[in-house]
Every structure is written in C-alpha cells, then in structure tokens.
Amino acid sequence: MKFIKSLSLALACALLGQTAFAEEKQYFDNRIETLETRVKQLESEKAKRETATSGSTTATGLSRYFNPAISINGLLLGTYVNQGRTDSTREVKTGFKVQEVEMRFTANVDSYLTGDLTIAFEGDEVEVEEIIASLLISNRLSLRAGKFFTPFGKHNLLHTHAFPFIDAPLINEEILGEEGINEVGVGLAVLLPAPWYSEIQLQFLEGDNALFKGALNDDFLYLAHWKNLVELGEELTAELGGSFAYGKNDLASGPYNSTQLAGADLTFKWKPAGRERYRTFVWQTEFINSSRDVDKKGIYTLMQYQFARRWWIQGRYDFLTLPRDQVGGGEVAQDKHRYSTLLAFVLSEFSALRLQYNYLDQFQSENEHQVFLQLNFTFGSHPAHSY
C-alpha cells in the first residue's frame, strides 16, 4: 500500500513537472520569437542606415549624391568575309575589332530639365552621339533640345548595342548613311488625345549630313514622325508609324536641290502572359523612299523569336533598289538583296553572344558571305528597356 502511495506520488510529481516544463518551454519559445523579430528589425534598420550613409561624400568633401546614373556598353566583333582579302579599306572585312564602346549618363538637371549624354568610342574616334535636355511642358507636350537620333522610322533611333542584328538594315546604311540621321536641333512631341497611343513628333534640325547638307547656312532639315501603337489583346501589340523629312541639299540647283525622305514602319510584338521569361516574337518591317538626285528605295523585314529562356533565333531580308533608267545602267538591275540569320545566346540581361550569317547578292559585284560573332555586354546602373 505504501509502495503504491509513493509510486502515485512520484507519478504525480513527474506529470506536474512535465506540464511546468511545457509551460516554461512555451514561455521561452515566445521570448525567442520576440527577440528574433526584434533582431530582424534592428538588422533591417541598420542596413537602411548603411545604404543611406555610404557613398555620400568623397575624400575631398564633395557630395556624390547627385551623380548621374552611368552605364557602359562594349561590343566586341569578329568578322569573316569571303571577298576582298586584299582591300583594307572595306567597311566589312575579316578580322577582330572593338565595334563600339558606349557610355551613357543620365540624371535630372533640376526641377525642369532631364539630361542625357551618350558618348561613343569607335576605333580612334570619339563622338558625342546624344546630348539631350528634355522638358515636360504639360501632360501632352514635351520638348527636347540637343543632338540626338531622330525618329525617322524605328531603326534609326537605336544605339548600336540595341540593334536587332549585328549590322544595320541596308536601307539605314545606304539611304540614311552610316551614322543615320543623327542631328542637332529641337523637337516637339505631342501625345494626341486618342484612345490608343498616338504621338506626333516634329523636329527642326541643322541638317548637317550627307543627305541634307544645304548650300546655305540657313538651309535646315524638317522632320516629322507619327507613331501609333494598338494593343491587340494583352499579349500582342501592333505599331504603325510614318516618317517624313525634307531639306535642301548641296547638289546643283534644279529639280535635285532638295531631298525628301518618306518612311513607313509596322511592328508586331508578342509575349505570352505569365511566360514572359521564356518566349517572345517580334516581326518588324520598314520601308524608306529617298528622292534626291536619284530615287532610292528599299525595305527590310525581320523576325525575332525567343524559343528558350536564353536563346533567340532571328531572320532578316533586306532589299534596296535604284531605278535603272536614271543611273544609265541600261537593262541591268541596280538591286541589292541580303539574307541574314542570327542565333543569340543571352547569358543575362547584361550580356549576350550573337552569331550572324549574311548572304549579300548585289548588283555588279561578287556575291558575299559574311559571318559575324559579337559579344555584347553592359555594366553600371540598371538600364530600362524601351519597348
């Protein structure tokens, strides 16, 4: 009996101890949890303070706070061409080169202006590609002044690193010229009150390039672009644009002393909702007609398909024509055709390796095979990607 009594006493004690222990455990668990939260809070506050103070001043005491965002792009290019081994003056020749190095700076100037600067290094040349001050006047109107790529079509606006192919389309190279229409002047952009995105840009420019160099100092270049973008469902957009440029040139007076350019562009873009990372499709076509001493016109159409997270396959067809009768070539066609294909391996948002093949079928010269391999990389502040 005594034994049973002491046994039950021991059992009761053990049970009691256990509940006491459980309570204690619960208490400490709660304490630990509160402390953990507190530690996390302090850590994040500390991190906030650190990011806020680091980089505020330099050793000279000058503030670094308002430095512009800087990004740098490098383009390394290897080329193989089956023609012109002995001609070192060729634009496209076999060998390695730094295709271009580009530095971009951007910041708000004050509460009115935004500043953008792009400097390009190409071979031993340094060029200010863009220096722009832009001003927002109202929610429909904006102004820009400086030197910039003009909105003549879609491709002319692009910096070399953003080209869909390694080289520019024939119409851009041969009609607008190597540098494109990159001009000094002022521009006005008006957003029209339409249910879709509709914008008109009017630009008043110096006109200092091969196409538009007038005989007189006060011969200017006038340029207009109308851009329309419609959403066809949430995955597909269509963009339709028209461009027009007019200016005097330095050819002899008569019917040829002015240059007129007209262009049209049509782009479809598709990205599947919810799988943006893995698939994209773009189909872009552009047409340019130039009336100067002779009429030149041409078209390109290109397709880009992203078939996996890091892989793109692309194709392009270029066509350029000069009318036969005006060149005196008799019955010989003055046409150029170019067929291109490209495979891109995109390592990340900041670097890509691209391999391109061109077949060039041109008037009065040997047909050419061209192969390019390009490494395209960007470092510095995060660039926003224009659509």
Binding site: K40, Q41, E43, S44, E45, K46, A47, K48, E50, T51, T114, L136, S138, N139, R140, L141, S142, A189, L191, P193, W196, Y197, E199, K227, L229, V230, E231, E234, T237, E239, K271, A273, G274, R275, E276, R277, Y278, R309, R310, S348, E349, F350, F379, H382, A384, H385, S386, Y387
Partner: protein, 308 residues
C-alpha cells in the same frame, strides 16, 4: 464657311476633346503597378477611385515591358502607386518618362512608393555586384506576402488619398478602418490554419516567398536559383537534394510564372513535391483580392503539409 470659322471650330473641337474627359470623371484615377496594390487601393478608395493595374497577377513583375499603352494609363493618372525596392526598375522609369504626366513625377503627391512604409527583409550588406545575379540592393521587394505589410500599405495609400482628395478624407478613413478590421480577423484565421506547421522546412525556386515564410514561421533551407535570376547548375541541385534528404524536407515552392523543369528535377531526386502557387492577386482565378490571395496560399500550404 469662311476659313476663320473653320479654324475656330477646330479649336473648339480640340478644347472639348481635351477637357470633357476631365470633367466627366470626378473619380480619382489611380494606376497601380501590381494587382495586389490595386486591390488594396480599391478597399481604401472604394467608389471614389478608379484603379488600374499594370502587371497582371500571373505575370512576372520583374519582366513587364514598357508598352506605350501603359504610358497612356500613367498619362491619365492622378496617382501612381508602386511596390518599389527596384521591383519595377526595368520598366517603370520608362512609363513615367513616356507617360509625361507632371502629377506623377517623383516627389509629387501623385507619386507613391509603398516600400517606404515597410521594413524590407534581406537587405544586402557588404559588397554587392552583378556577379551575384539579379540582387535587389534595397532588399527583397515581394513584401506584400506578409499580410501585416498589407496594413502598412493600406495606411500609406489612405494617407496619400487624404492629401489628394481632402474633401473625402473621412470616407477613406472609414474604408481603411474596415479593411484593417477585416484583415486582422483574417490574419488570425490564416495563422490558426498554419500554426501547427510552424518550423516546417521547404525549398523555394526564387526568393519570392521570403516574407510569407518568415511571417508564418516556415524555414527555407535553400533556393533552386542559387543566385537570383540565374538558372541553377546541376551541382547546386545535387547539393540541395542532399540537404533536403538530410533535413526531411519534402516541399518545393515556386511561383506560377516560372517553368517547373528545375523544381521537378529536384523533386525527383529528393522524393519531394512541387507546389506551384500564385504570388499576386489575379495569379489564379480564385485570388480575386488581397484576402482571397492569402485564402488560396494558406489553404494550399495547409493541404500540402497535412498530407502524410
């Protein structure tokens, strides 16, 4: 008609075209970058606001493109509300620039960065560079997945609506109180559902789920992407699979806008299961607002963890 009259009537037409939409709509136009934010704006603003979201809940918010059609939305907004911490860094600056709306420029009352209201997690310390992948230097931006941050977001939105529309301040305050009350009740319910599973270990695909795991007390033993935004190596997957087996981890959690090939590969190696969940309101059809998003998330997690 004389030419003068023509010019006159064209001017009048343009004036009307520009001014009528402004007069007809008395509601505040709010543009939110995500559907989560849009849902909270709807709760706080009620009938007084007209809110549009840019990123849909089933889209990856890092990868939205700066479509000109979005610029039009920004152009017509009285208030732009965004998540911040560089979640939208690839596209929002272009939308603000292209939207050319002086009301929503940084520093203006129509520009609201909600991340200012919360305490971010995973703020990197020490050196930081791109070799580490798509790191967010200001901290993990998916903070809406902590429901208590939802309260802070709502508070911040209400404060801003007061400032933009003081005449209706009382209504916004009442709406905020109603939202707070309802959310607090729901939080208690969600916590009760998952209380028994505190400490459960899981693997996530990307660091998307940090705030959710942290709040409900789950432990992440690793991410499939060992550097954010970079596909994993097979070595990393093998290591992760070994850790999963050692720690008895069975669940792999991933957002529904990623392909599941790596998650399935890992699940096969470690005998685990892959859970594909929405990150945002609108991510699945059942997640119609901020409340039902957590109903879905907590419900799915409870189901998964209750399985033997």
């Amino acid at each position: 008609m004389r030419p003068f009259n023509w010019i006159y009537s064209i001017c009048i037409f343009f004036l009307l075209a520009v001014s009528i939409p402004g007069l007809a709509i008395a509601k505040l136009n709010v543009v939110a970058t995500t559907e989560d934010i849009a849902s909270i704006v709807k709760e706080v603003g009620g009938d007084l606001v007209d809110v549009k979201a840019i990123a849909k809940g089933y889209q990856d918010p890092h990868l939205i493109e700066a479509k000109p059609s979005y610029m039009l939305k920004v152009n017509r907004a009285d208030l732009l509300v965004y998540q911040g911490l560089e979640l939208e860094v690839g596209w929002l600056p272009l939308l603000i620039q292209g939207g050319r709306n002086p009301k929503v420029l940084p520093g203006k009352p129509g520009h609201l960065d909600l991340s200012q209201a919360i305490a971010p997690l995973e703020v990197p310390t020490g050196t930081l560079d791109r070799s580490m992948g798509d790191v967010h230097p200001l901290g993990n931006p998916h903070y809406h997945l902590n429901p208590e941050n939802g309260l802070l977001m709502a508070q911040s939105i209400a404060d801003r609506l007061h400032r933009l529309d003081p005449a209706n301040a009382e209504i916004y305050t009442n709406n905020l109180e109603r939202f707070r009350h309802r959310l607090q009740n729901k939080i208690a319910e969600w916590k009760a559902k998952l209380e028994g599973f505190r400490g459960t270990r899981l693997v996530t695909y990307h660091a998307t789920w940090l705030y959710l795991l942290d709040y409900f007390g789950f432990e992440s033993i690793g991410t499939i992407e060992n550097r954010p935004g970079i596909p994993p190596s097979s070595k990393h997957l093998a290591e992760l699979s070994a850790v999963m087996q050692q720690t008895g981890t069975k669940t792999i959690l991933q957002a529904n806008f990623y392909d599941d090939e790596f998650s399935e590969l890992l699940a096969g190696k470690a005998q685990g299961t892959v859970m594909i969940l929405p990150v945002s309101v609108g991510g699945v059809t059942e997640a119609t607002d901020y409340f039902s998003l957590f109903d879905v998330l907590t419900g799915e997690l409870e189901n998964a963890f209750s399985r033997p």
